[in-house]
Symmetry: C2
Subunit: 228 residues, 2 copies
């Protein structure tokens, strides 16, 4: 076979929500090209270690955060001759979600990894076309938030409806009706109401958790069909 095999890498856009801000995990590149610049965590498939590319994405994230994300899904492949100075490259991008407090301590200990607010990204120069990949991932996350409970994977194990609402509103950058959220939470059958409530300044709030082994439910309609 006379074909030059293009470079194949796996990169992940790991999101979290903290302080009503959507953040993405970036690492400082330790080698050329783009040495020292911020980039998505990722790298080459290790054919001896990784059962498949999902395993590659998980392994690379674990190396940087010490943790496995609560949600991980393929985004898309980006490819071309110009996007990597080393030559023609093919990158499989994933996007992932994690609760902020799950990884926060670990991150702090790795000086080369850092959460950066998506809204601040214009102030950074990212390696490769990683800014573009993050934009694709954000758009996909926003879209999926309209028809699923995917934002629940940004929350700690026990959480309130108000917390879920906050995370959703942070992701889609629009307010939603609490009532609509409660209806969906009920209908999805993904969550269990715990025998516990939590104090929040007024009436105690019911705590929920994701049922063990619950699949992500897709609703038949989107929230917020209207533009504002």
């Amino acid at each position: 076979m006379a074909f030059k095999n293009p470079l194949f890498t796996v990169d992940s856009v790991l999101f979290t929500v903290h302080n009503n801000t959507l953040k993405v995990l970036l690492v400082q590149r330790a080698e050329a090209p783009f040495l020292g610049q911020w980039a998505l965590p990722g790298g080459f498939v290790d054919v001896d270690q990784d059962a498949n590319t999902d395993a590659t994405a998980h392994r690379k994230l674990r190396d940087k955060t010490g943790f496995t994300p609560q949600y991980l899904e393929q985004l898309q492949v980006i490819s071309g001759a110009q996007r990597d100075p080393r030559g023609y490259s093919v990158t499989l991008a994933y996007y992932a979600l994690v609760a902020h407090q799950n990884v926060s301590p670990k991150i702090a200990s790795v000086a080369l990894a850092q959460w950066i607010a998506v809204q601040d990204l214009p102030q950074y120069t990212l390696a490769f076309d990683h800014a573009h990949i993050i934009a694709l991932a954000q758009a996909r996350l926003q879209q999926k938030t309209l028809y699923s409970m995917i934002p629940a994977f940004c929350l700690p194990e026990r959480f309130t409806i108000a917390q879920l609402q906050q995370v959703i509103e942070t992701i889609i950058e629009k307010p939603i009706q609490r009532k609509s959220l409660m209806r969906r939470l009920e209908a999805s059958d993904m969550f269990a109401a715990l025998d516990e409530k939590t104090s929040s300044g007024g009436r105690l709030a019911q705590l929920y958790s994701i049922k063990a082994g619950a699949d992500l439910v897709n609703f038949e309609r989107n929230l917020m069909a209207k533009d504002e």
Copy 2:
């Protein structure tokens, strides 16, 4: 970098609808492994010819059909050590749509390519995990048919609502309401009513075509939310 680069290939699941049957284009493999068996059209990226992997998919389909599909979209990456006897492999699968009469004559002249009804696939032994990839593509096509006009890309340039309805019902394997389809056709603004009608046994039917440069519209709800 000490990593063995895995094999990277691009394969496409090209669908069409003919005689109320969903069909997929398969080609007979001309080389080992799986020599002579039916497989998806695809192959290696040619870094000198292909601007990106989309171009690879297009080129491979053009080689087999002489035509460019009306619609082409990434499906997902499938990877692992066991799926190709030559070793660890990574395949980017696309799915694509074309109007049957656009490629039919060309196919006939290429003995190595053939349309096979999806419902007949259990009778065939496909190369690699291509049967699995086709199943993934079919599921995605069905899902997307519920919230977009994607089936329009299986139709000739000028078509009637009845034809569109037939194609949709073939893809999702369920009947839909003609009225609902008309409402969506109107709302989507993707189609132009031509100054022409066509005879079909009764009242003449309005002909439509996809507006030049029209983007595929996504609706806010799915059709057929109910299971039957």
